[in-house]
Subunit: 394 residues, 2 copies
């Protein structure tokens, strides 16, 4: 795979000793010049120290570097947690010779245990030395926890013939659900854009990507998506149509990353899009899609490759949406398994089962009550999910 790069940005990922197994656990993204920046954050009322710190720092609209660690969430760690988050930023700033107020911080891992800040501080100089233009893959590895694979994506656009790049790195595997996730995501772009434009496009993009995925229905205390635009290219957003074009590139990068997160969901073996149409309203459609996507009984049936549509229809029935059970159609890809609330029969079930044996497919639920539509991505619920989460800290 070609390494992703973006003009004026460097990144690195090294092992600092926070992870017991000696894997990479400390990452840095650096922009040669202070970048305009924005973020979206977890809505959990319990927020990790780095989340609180970054929310404060981004009020200034600027960021030049992000230091991120895995192996410890630095959450529910009290005053020491905030002191440690500030110290992480300070260590990175000192090693970079950059203002510490322009350094954002991210942490992911176990909640409630104090961070070993000494390890971060003593690794900071090596981390800076490791910075490379093509270092984003290393960074992606350094922020993994239960994820199996590093997640990077890139997109390109142009304004008046001037090209720009948008690249992204994400991690996330458990505690994933709409309204964000155990999810960290960092977007770098060399476009010139005002902070308010970045905030608007990022919020919209997050709603169209990370807020449409679920792995286990839990919401993390550490979720964030940060965007940094350093203006190192010639491309500049100065019209609505420029912004629309940028939004499309950004959305694509975010959705690529979001789908990678679901695919790499803890124990996941399937990536399934739950599409709802014909709902009385978009809100109803989303409620149905969410309820089906979160249902443990549906998700275990996806794992079992069992076209158990009764569980789907039961989930639809408790979603709180306006519906008539006798109108519902359910498709597995192009196979209509259910028509007007009744099974299409044995042949359809065999066909649906064939679809379910593939790693990626769509379940479409047509309520036939109106024009409301929604779509979310979910994964199956496997024996390994339980094993991973029963044993995580041991």
């Amino acid at each position: 795979m070609k390494p992703i790069t973006c003009k004026g940005f460097k990144a690195a990922g090294i092992a600092s000793g926070l992870k017991k197994n000696g894997a990479k656990d400390l990452g840095l993204i650096y922009s040669e010049t202070p970048a305009n920046a924005a973020g979206v954050f977890t809505r959990n009322l319990v927020r990790a120290a780095p989340v609180l710190l970054d929310q404060e720092r981004l009020k200034g609209g600027k960021c030049q570097a992000v230091i991120a660690n895995s192996g410890n969430a630095n959450c529910c760690t009290g005053e020491k947690g905030m002191t440690d988050a500030v110290a992480m930023a300070r260590a990175a700033g000192a090693a970079l010779d950059a203002p510490e107020e322009l350094v954002c911080v991210a942490s992911t891992g176990v909640i409630g245990q104090p961070l070993n800040i000494r390890k971060v501080e003593s690794a900071a100089p090596d981390l800076v030395k490791a910075l490379r233009e093509d270092g984003f893959q290393d960074f992606a590895e350094a922020i993994l926890t239960t994820d199996l694979s590093p997640k990077t994506a890139a997109g390109h656009g142009e304004i008046d013939g001037k090209p720009y790049a948008v690249i992204g790195v994400a991690k996330g595997s458990g505690m994933i659900r709409p309204d964000m996730a155990t999810m960290l995501c960092f977007i770098c772009t060399d476009i010139k854009a005002e902070t308010n434009v970045l905030q608007k496009t990022l919020t919209l993009g997050a709603n169209r990507s990370f807020n449409r995925i679920t792995v286990d229905g839990d919401t993390s205390t550490n979720d964030m998506i940060l965007i940094m635009a350093n203006g190192a290219s010639e491309a500049e957003i100065d019209s609505t149509s420029d912004q629309v074009g940028f939004q499309a590139v950004l959305d694509d990068v975010l959705l690529q990353l979001a789908k990678m997160v679901v695919k790499d969901g803890e124990g996941a073996t399937k990536l399934v899009e739950i599409q709802v149409k014909g709902a009385k309203s978009p809100k109803d459609a989303r409620a149905v899609a969410d309820t089906v996507a979160h249902s443990n009984l549906v998700k275990t049936a996806l794992f079992g490759e069992d076209a158990n549509w009764g569980r789907i229809i039961a989930a639809v029935g408790r979603a709180g949406a306006v519906m008539d059970p006798q109108k519902i159609d359910i498709f597995f890809n192009e196979v209509r398994m259910v028509e007007n609330g009744l099974t299409s029969g044995h042949a359809a079930e065999l066909d649906a089962t064939r679809v379910m044996k593939t790693p990626e497919y769509t379940i479409l639920i047509d309520l036939k009550m109106g024009e409301g539509k929604a779509s979310v991505f979910t994964c199956d619920f496997s024996v390994d999910y339980v094993k991973i989460n029963a044993d995580y800290r041991s």
Copy 2:
């Protein structure tokens, strides 16, 4: 175990061939005289034919018999489903020589497959022959699906020195959550009580028992609790204090059964009470208790016997309740694991882990925001849950 009985009631359970493995799958409860009766039913908008039929029949306030099958839910089965439900009642009525309109029907099992009504019809005479005063254990076996053990409970009270009995039979293991469950429950009592009193006490009792349990967060299409009071004893409810006394006995029977359902939850190895106190309102308390009780990450940690309180506090934070993360205390039985949002340390963690190795314990969350309280019962989430539900239909 002493068999449960209740004056004027008989019950039976036999194998009719609906279950492929030859296990009991058809049950009957019969009152020698028509009983006053009431019911509470699933709030799922997708309701099985028997639910729709019973809701209609109980408008008359009378019931003399209940016929129940396992192995097929008779849900999403269209017009044939309703015809079959009516035919089940008719077959029981004919064999009993009782009015078919006084027969209620219940079904549990797979959704969306037509019921083999011939098997029920041809088994009905044998079913009636099998009726015995101590036949409730057989009935309890006949309504099992993925449940491992039959569930019966009994309670006793008296009014003016005149004793009465309340007995109950339940099934339920998956699709269990507040607002009812894949749950069938039948209560028989020999007390004399008006239908409106039965409805009131049953609704209240259900809120205090079956609406406080969760196994997997799904809501079934077939849930019902029916109560029949045949007045075969001398005890009669004719004052508020009589009703209060009866409520206590009924609540106890319902709660015994509800806890048995959680304990027998699919794959469950633990019965855990989630208590919340100090919430700003009872509603907040319930929201927190529900969110924690439903969290897959919490439930897998219960299975792993891992005092991973970070997952509990993360679930509290997304419950939508008024809270301050820095005020929360969390106890595992008497062990205070978290104080003011921070860990009590390694010794407490060892003690909490010891509590988690027991099969039944309480997790208490004190929000210190007010006087609101709530309590729900949940189970752990095991590897076997996934295995059971991935393979259920195969």
